[in-house]
Every structure is written in C-alpha cells, then in structure tokens.
C-alpha cells in the first residue's frame, strides 16, 4: 500500500470542460464496463440525468444551466471520485486495505475489506462515495482493472471529444498549462488525481474554491485522536503518581477496638 504519492509517476485525468458536449458516453461506458445496473430516474425538467451519483453510477455529467438574455446554455461537469492526493476517505477508513492507494496514485477499494462503517461518506470533500444494497463502499476506481492491463479507463475511451484525458498526471497538467488553461485541483489536497480545466469559477460548478478535508473530520482524526491517546495514558500515569506521592486515603482499622465480626 503506497501511502505517499509519487507525483512524478502519478496517473490521472485532465477534464477539459470546454470540450464536453454532454453526450454522457462516459456514463454509459462506465456502466457497461463495470456492469452496473441502470437507475430508474424521473423527469425533473432538466436534461441532466441522473441528478446525483448512485451506487450504480460512478461518474456522471452535471448540467449547469445558465440563462443569458432568454437563451439557455449549459456548463458540463464530469462528477466523480477525484482521487485526492490527501484523501479524506482513506484518512478515516478504520479497515486497513478497504480503501487503498495504488502505485499509480489512485484511490482504489476492496469491498471484501469494507466493514460498512460509512465514515468515508462523511469525510469526502466532494461527497462521492456511495453505499449500495450490499452495504459496501463504491465509487470510481479509475477502472483499475483496465489500467493495470494497459488500457485507458472506460469513460476516457468512450469520450468522443477528448474531454476526458487519461495519462501521466504531470504530463496532462503541463500540456493544459501550455494551452493556458486555468486548472482546478492541481495542488489542493496534495493534488487531485482528476484535474479540471473549468470555464468559470469553481463555485459555478458547485465546487469548493479551496477543497479540503472537512474541519470536523480533521479535528476528529488529527487532534482528538492523538490527544485522546495522550489523555488515556496521562490519566493512568496521574493516578499512579498520585498513589506513590500523596497516597491512598486509608481508614484507621478498628478505631472502636471492638473487632466485632462481620456476619
């Protein structure tokens, strides 16, 4: 298990949202390769479908509607696990090996080791992990089975406009920078594995400007946990110290000198 990321060899996506035409080939290809059932959806008056990630939908195109002088236009956004360099899900997962990092820097998971605590659901900065009827974590794993066989992930393979580009993360970023693209996720959370070239400010896409592990999760894991261990041993130490310095409160035996039997 590679806990630290080799930024030089790290693999990932570059998502150039300006190229996306909203065809959702990525959604379909993902479902096909990962053998995911179709979700029943309903018409909510938008072309966006489905409206959220589900246990059977690891990536989707988010449609952001903009109205300019009566005409509707869209921003498209590929929503999926970002494979954070500093991943909240991995930080909180209590079951070693359930969520793990591959040598390529991908946040993968092993359902057999998942203990269904769902801590990852709370710790993800982007609200990505879902739990299905098997009560196990599921999310995009960058088609681990494909890339380990030298293929590109199903979504990138299917993308007709090269919105989704898979490859060595540093190369993808260098190329996008060469094309003067403003990037999202280059260094946040020790670099996202999925870097975006957005067409507007992150808020427009419903993304945090500076994504980070939720404060309460940070306090829980990085402050309370170590202080708690310190507090535990500190308390034991303090009691022992009290015993050998001030000592117990002894009661004088048989002050009354009776010695009358108990029972």
């Amino acid at each position: 298990m590679a806990e630290t990321i080799n930024q030089a060899t790290r693999k990932g996506f570059l998502v150039d949202t300006s190229r996306c035409i909203g065809c959702r080939s990525c959604q379909v290809a993902c479902k096909q390769w990962n053998k995911l059932e179709a979700d029943k959806t309903s018409n909510k008056g938008t072309f966006e479908n489905p409206r959220d990630l589900t246990p059977a939908l690891y990536n989707r195109i988010k449609f952001i509607e903009k109205e300019t002088s009566g005409a509707i236009s869209w921003l498209f956004f590929n929503e999926r696990c970002m494979h954070c360099g500093d991943a909240g899900c991995m930080k909180v997962c209590p079951s070693p090996g359930a969520l793990y990092r591959t040598n390529d820097g991908i946040v993968a998971y092993n359902k057999d080791k998942c203990i269904s605590c769902k801590y990852c659901v709370s710790a993800c900065p982007f609200n990505i992990p879902r739990y299905g009827t098997d009560d196990k974590v599921c999310k995009c794993n960058l088609c681990l089975d494909r890339i380990s066989g030298g293929m590109v992930p199903a979504c990138a393979k299917a993308c007709p406009t090269e919105t989704l580009k898979y490859g060595k993360r540093s190369d993808l970023i260098a190329k996008a920078k060469g094309a003067k693209k403003a990037l999202y996720g280059e260094s946040d959370l020790n670099g996202l594995g999925v870097v975006y070239a957005l067409e507007g400010p992150p808020e427009q896409y419903g993304l945090p400007e500076n994504p980070s592990i939720p404060l309460s999760i940070f306090l829980w894991k990085d402050v309370i946990k170590p202080l708690g261990i310190l507090g535990f041993w500190g308390s034991i130490g303090a009691m022992l110290l009290h015993y050998v310095t001030i000592g117990p409160k002894n009661i004088e035996d048989d002050e009354e000198g009776k010695g009358g039997g108990h029972e």
């Binding site: 605590c117 946990k225 034991i236």
Partner: protein, 213 residues
C-alpha cells in the same frame, strides 16, 4: 428509599442495594464492551481489537447492541440517583475548595453526604455523555439518512466525549479501589465499614443510622 440495614453489632453498613449493584455492573460491562468494540473504530492503530469480535463488521454490530444497553442502563442509573447527585450544598463547596483533601497527605474531614462533589460530577458527566454519545451514535449508525455536516459533527463529538469518559473512568476506578481502601466492597457485596462511612461520608452515615434506629 431503603437506606442501609444496620445491625447494631456489625462493623458494616450497607451502601448499595443488590439492584443498584447489579445495575452498576451492567453499565460497566456494556461500557467495556463498547470500549473494546469501539477502539478499532477510533483509530487504525487499534485495528487488532476487531479480532476479538471476528472482524470490523461484527465489532460494529456489537458496538450498536452494547450502545443500546449502555444508553438505557446508564440513564436508568442516573435517574435512580438523580436526587443524590444533582444537588450541591455548602459542605460540598468546602470539599471543592480543598479538592476533597486529595492533593495533600494532611488529614482532612468534610461533612459529606452520600456522594462527594467529585462523585456527583462524575455521575452528571456520565449522564450527559450517555445522552450525547447516544444521539451522535444514531447519526453515525445511519449516516446516509442525515445531512453530512450533522454526521461529521457527530463523529467528532462521539470521539471527544469518549475521550472524556475513559479519562473519568480511569479516575473513578482508581478512587474506588486502591485510592480509597475499603470502598470497592460497596459495589461487590454492598457493605462498607462504619469507619469508612464516618470518614468519607459522615453526613450520610449519620442519616442512615438514625433513620434505622
């Protein structure tokens, strides 16, 4: 309320009734079950504790069952002693200002009733912790049914209150055993020596002996 039976010839006086003792040990057993099953959830450092239960998933199940038992037995215990633990009088103030004599070897005497302020504080903390751990526990139990910020806050709070609890319990165990010789009997067979009662809880001793005369 039934106060201790005081046989005139005995050196002993009853401090806790049978039902009080049984209840206390139910709370204790569920607490330590929760501790063992929860350690692996607290940190990956303690993942080995999962093996006691045959894996993390079972540990979580035990933690949920133990949590329900602890919640109700602990609250029941609090309501049983509510009157004795939730009021503080002038003698208690005196005890607090002199830290109950625990920080000095000098002989100290306080006119303390059934419980001293330290014990009362512990009882009140446990009662409050039971409520908070119970409520946050429900959010953590079913996280997808609640807004994420509530569950995030619950994970934080559950851990924090647990830390306070384990620290309090360490002090509690110390003071009830080697820190105050003669005390543990009250929770085992229910009786303490009269000398113990006169030294630690004179007001209670006076009350319980006169009532039974």
């Amino acid at each position: 309320m039934k106060k201790g039976k005081v046989a005139a010839m005995s050196n002993y006086i009853e401090r806790f009734s049978t039902s009080e003792r049984v209840l206390h040990w139910i709370v204790t057993a569920s607490f330590f079950t929760l501790l063992l099953s929860g350690l692996g959830l607290y940190s990956r450092l303690f993942t080995g504790y999962f093996t006691f239960f045959g894996g993390g998933q079972n540990a979580i199940l035990v933690h949920k069952i133990g949590g329900v038992i602890f919640f109700f037995s602990s609250l029941y215990m609090y309501f049983n002693h509510k009157k004795d633990v939730s009021t503080f009088d002038e003698d208690d103030k005196e005890w607090v200002t002199k830290q109950g004599g625990y920080l000095s070897r000098d002989e100290a005497h306080f006119n303390i009733g059934k419980y001293n302020p330290g014990q009362k504080l512990f009882a009140l903390y446990v009662a409050a912790a039971t409520v908070v751990l119970g409520i946050t526990g429900v959010f953590i139990w079913m996280p997808v049914l609640f807004p994420r910020w509530i569950v995030q806050l619950s994970l934080l709070t559950h851990g924090l209150i647990f830390v306070g609890s384990i620290m309090f319990v360490i002090v509690h165990v110390y003071l009830a055993t080697i820190g105050n010789p003669g005390t543990i009997g009250s929770m085992l067979y229910g009786d303490v020596k009269k000398n113990w009662a006169k030294k630690h809880h004179p007001k209670w001793y006076k009350e319980s002996t006169t009532e039974n005369h």
